[in-house]
Symmetry: C2
Subunit: 300 residues, 2 copies
């Protein structure tokens, strides 16, 4: 039995930032988010890798109490993403995307996952997200993340998923693109009308905004002097939030706010090193320390 | 006797935003900041206007309990600024600047202002800011604002003023430009080393960061659905903060945080209408209401 199911990409990333570069390192939305969630609960992953995927990465996931029964190992090569960041690290520039095994992936949710109440549809083709969601009979809380690529190429399918989830996570530029307005409050209110009970707008270094029908909550970005690689920050944020909600089994607005801050804490750690290097090191105590730092940061 | 002296530009602005346009309306850094400060205390203004400056604007300042003894009315035309905002209203685009009477302005601080403990050097040529500062024998707390134009053209003079003030206010792009780093925390820490006890980085819709040697405080932007014209938001923010500090005569870090939130509250009102139209209407009770809304916005 798992506490939270995470479906999304599992990748080998090649990333260049002003502070270094790495080649074919562990990455992917499902990877970052399940590792972040594992700080709070026992996640089960749904995804696919190729025969070239290093065994050590699977061993690492298992060591983190992540169930890999839904991790398919296919003939062929693992999905690869290559990108770089300039000094303004809010913006990722994609240099190459090799879908590889992801292009023919048909997600099969293991039976042992199907009673799970919490589901996170991390960034992946909305058709696959919908497919996974349809395999669950009864969920309590489903969250969805996406990216500009799907807004541009599969907007209809994406909006079909949006209509069915409890929480939509989206970054500021994507929210503006999707709703055709530069005003983030208008964009969020518009997105709430599309179905979700809650919308979170991720603003990178500027933090995140949580909207429900009744409230708006603003979480700051954590002021970091040394950001090495922002890859996976959004996924770590979402995974941390969902892991916290699943571990407390409390989806009240008040608890979602706390989850947003826990997610922000983990995301801030993520950016301090390449790949999952920092996430591999941090403990629940570290996350609690940073949560307290967030409390001090906004106290007036 | 005044509580706070404000020196800076007084302007007739012509502004176009996606929500309308106005011509030769009341504007200028000293105008916005003294009107914002007047919600908390009795400010005295130092500035210059031309013979063409509508009498009604001076009457309005006086009605707001702003002392205009230091407001010089010169032969010639009032300083004019023209600009526009596109849908992304974080960025002002200047179309024309006519210095007019500002080009030969020699500020003379009235004797009745000289015992004032609080001084705000709002945006104007740093040579004039230094000149005004040198006329004061004994101040308790001096704040400084500036803009990219002075960073590009009078950096040395600007850094001379920076070295002499207690608080520097600067927007994010200017902080990056001045310190040659995209990282705002590094920029702020670098600026603290240049002299001020505190640095505030203004981030427009993303709020503001207050840095001292010991702390970092993050104030959110207020989530507004209808922003009509952001002109003067930074000046209103600074004026509100300085007015609050002067009225409480408390420059502790804790009180500065409260001042930052009061400043943010007034700045958010400012953007809801063109020129000072909204600032003319709001009362201390309105500001208190929005201060409470900021408390709710960050509570978790």
């Amino acid at each position: 039995m798992v506490d939270l199911v995470v479906v999304g990409s599992i990748a080998l990333d090649s990333v260049k930032t002003p502070f270094g570069d790495v080649k074919d390192v562990l990455g992917g939305a499902a990877t970052y988010s399940s590792v972040a969630a594992s700080i709070f609960c026992k996640p089960g992953i749904v995804g696919v890798v190729g025969a070239d995927f290093p065994r050590e990465h699977i061993d690492f996931l298992k060591k983190r109490n992540i169930v890999t029964e839904g991790l398919e190992i296919s003939e062929g090569k693992t999905f690869r993403w290559g990108g770089y960041y300039e000094y303004d690290m809010n913006q990722a520039h994609t240099t190459n995307t090799e879908l590889n095994v992801l292009s023919t992936f048909k997600p099969k949710v293991p039976k042992s996952y199907l009673g799970t109440k919490y589901l996170f549809l991390a960034n992946i083709d909305p058709v696959l997200q919908l497919d996974v969601l349809s395999q669950f009979k009864k969920t309590k809380f489903v969250a969805l993340d996406t990216m500009n690529f799907w807004i541009s190429t599969k907007k209809k399918e994406l909006m079909d998923v949006v209509a069915k989830v409890n929480l939509l996570l989206i970054n500021d530029a994507e929210a503006r693109q999707l709703m055709g307005t530069t005003n983030l409050v208008k964009a969020a209110r518009g997105l709430l009308k599309c179905g979700p009970d809650a919308v979170i707008i991720k603003k990178g270094e500027h933090g995140a905004l949580l909207f429900t029908d009744g409230i708006c909550f603003s979480a700051p970005g954590y002021p970091l002097e040394d950001v090495k690689d922002p890859t996976g920050a959004g996924d770590s944020f979402a995974g941390g939030l969902m892991g916290y909600l699943a571990s407390t089994d409390d989806t009240s607005v008040q608890n979602m706010k706390k989850g947003v801050v826990y997610g922000s804490a983990i995301a801030s750690y993520d950016t301090e090193d390449f790949s999952l290097n920092k996430l591999k090191k941090i403990t629940r105590a570290d996350v609690n320390d940073r949560y307290k730092a967030f409390e001090r940061l906004v106290e007036f």
